[in-house]
């Protein structure tokens, strides 16, 4: 039979039960704290101080490299974008200045784009703003360091355009939503969906040949003396970040 049942047995039982409860309540904290303390002080016995230090250095170096890698990736994306823009400036007969979209103003109907280039960079009101994809709009207001670009999707914008390869002339104006419409197109023209819409020089604002969009469909069923077409913009106006602003050529000196 089990021995005991005495007062000392009850005392021991109570003591060990109390110890169990104490370990149960404070055990993880004590074990964790003591373990951390021992680890911090005696880890060198197992790993050696030099190795431990080198591991810490390598870890810090890895973090540093990760951060550097992220920054380089962003720079690479920017470089690719600038390369495209640079290619365009080489083909354009005009000087251009690259700018970054700082923010968009929210107008009642359509906001404008605020660019980090202004009068000190040679930007003037009426300057044409483009991206690698195509025409963005026209500079409306210019401050010293910033300018405001009115996109071609704004209600007041009208752009004289031509279709390619069909060669029809028309006026580009904003349509419903963020679409564009090419109106006043000659009835005898043979514009087809897929034709590119580019600027013409007839308006006097834009140089010719800047891509605006692509004819998506003919707006049939409307009575009138001219054809109308729906145009899909070449530029995604919600994702513009870098632009080129075409500068006015300097006055020729004799």
């Amino acid at each position: 039979m089990l021995q005991g049942g005495s007062r000392s047995r009850r005392g021991r039982l109570a003591a060990y039960a109390a110890a169990s409860v104490l370990i149960l309540l404070a055990g993880p904290v004590l074990l964790g704290g003591v373990g951390s303390w021992l680890g911090a002080r005696f880890a060198f016995l197992f790993f050696g101080p030099e190795e431990d230090q080198s591991v810490e250095e390598l870890r810090a170096f890895a973090v540093e490299l990760m951060l550097e890698n992220g920054a380089l990736r962003e720079e690479a994306m920017k470089a690719a974008r600038y390369r495209t823009l640079l290619g365009m400036t080489r083909t354009l007969p005009q000087e251009a200045v690259a700018g970054r979209v700082l923010y968009r103003t929210e107008g009642l109907v359509e906001g404008t784009l605020v660019i980090d280039r202004g009068s000190r960079d040679g930007v003037v009101p009426g300057a044409v703003c483009i991206t690698a994809e195509g025409l963005v709009g026209v500079v409306e207001e210019v401050a010293e360091a910033t300018c405001e670009v009115l996109p071609i999707t704004s209600p007041g914008m009208r752009v004289s355009c031509m279709t390619y390869p069909s060669g029809a002339v028309g006026i580009l104006q904003p349509g419903p939503g963020r679409t564009l419409q090419l109106v006043d197109v000659d009835l005898s023209s043979s514009v087809a969906p897929g034709d590119e819409v580019v600027t013409s020089r007839y308006g006097g604002v834009f140089r010719d040949g800047l891509l605006v969009g692509t004819v998506s469909e003919s707006l049939t069923g409307r009575a009138g003396l001219a054809l109308e077409f729906s145009v899909t913009p070449a530029v995604d106006f919600t994702r513009i970040s870098e632009v080129l602003i075409l500068l006015e050529p300097p006055p020729e000196t004799e």
């Binding site: 021995q3 021991r12 060990y16 110890a19 169990s20 149960l24 309540l25 055990g27």
Partner: protein
Amino acid sequence: MMRSGSAGGVPAVAGAVVLQFMLEVTLGRVFAAPDVLLLVLVYLSINHGDRWSIEGAFWAGLALDMLLHQPPGASSLGLLAGMVVATLVLEAMPRESRGAYLLAGGAGSVACDAVFFAAASRPFILSLDSDMLIILPRAVLTLAAGSAAAAAGILAGMVRREAAE
């Protein structure tokens, strides 16, 4: 701490802790594991003194908690409770017998597991659920393991007697 004269029991308890650990990570993961450790402690407390029902239960439980990554102290508390119940059952028995030993082991197993579940639950007590139903199959398996051990003991005794004759 355990006193002198208990040296023979230490390897037995250490072996029982390792065996219990192996059972918990194998059978326990699939269904339920018997409380072999409790049976060994009951056996040792009957034959080698009650220190095995207190100090033995405490240290063995602590070692098992460390091995199984359970809340430290939960198994100790459970084993202490199990040993108290087993002691009460044995004291209530009219005479020592293998049946009494088995009954004490089974009752101790139920008490041990109930207290263990309560102690290891987070938050305490409130998170107890149907998982506690595993206590009954564990008790049955403990009885089965004890019966197997008793049968093995009887057979070993018979073989020894025959060899002696």
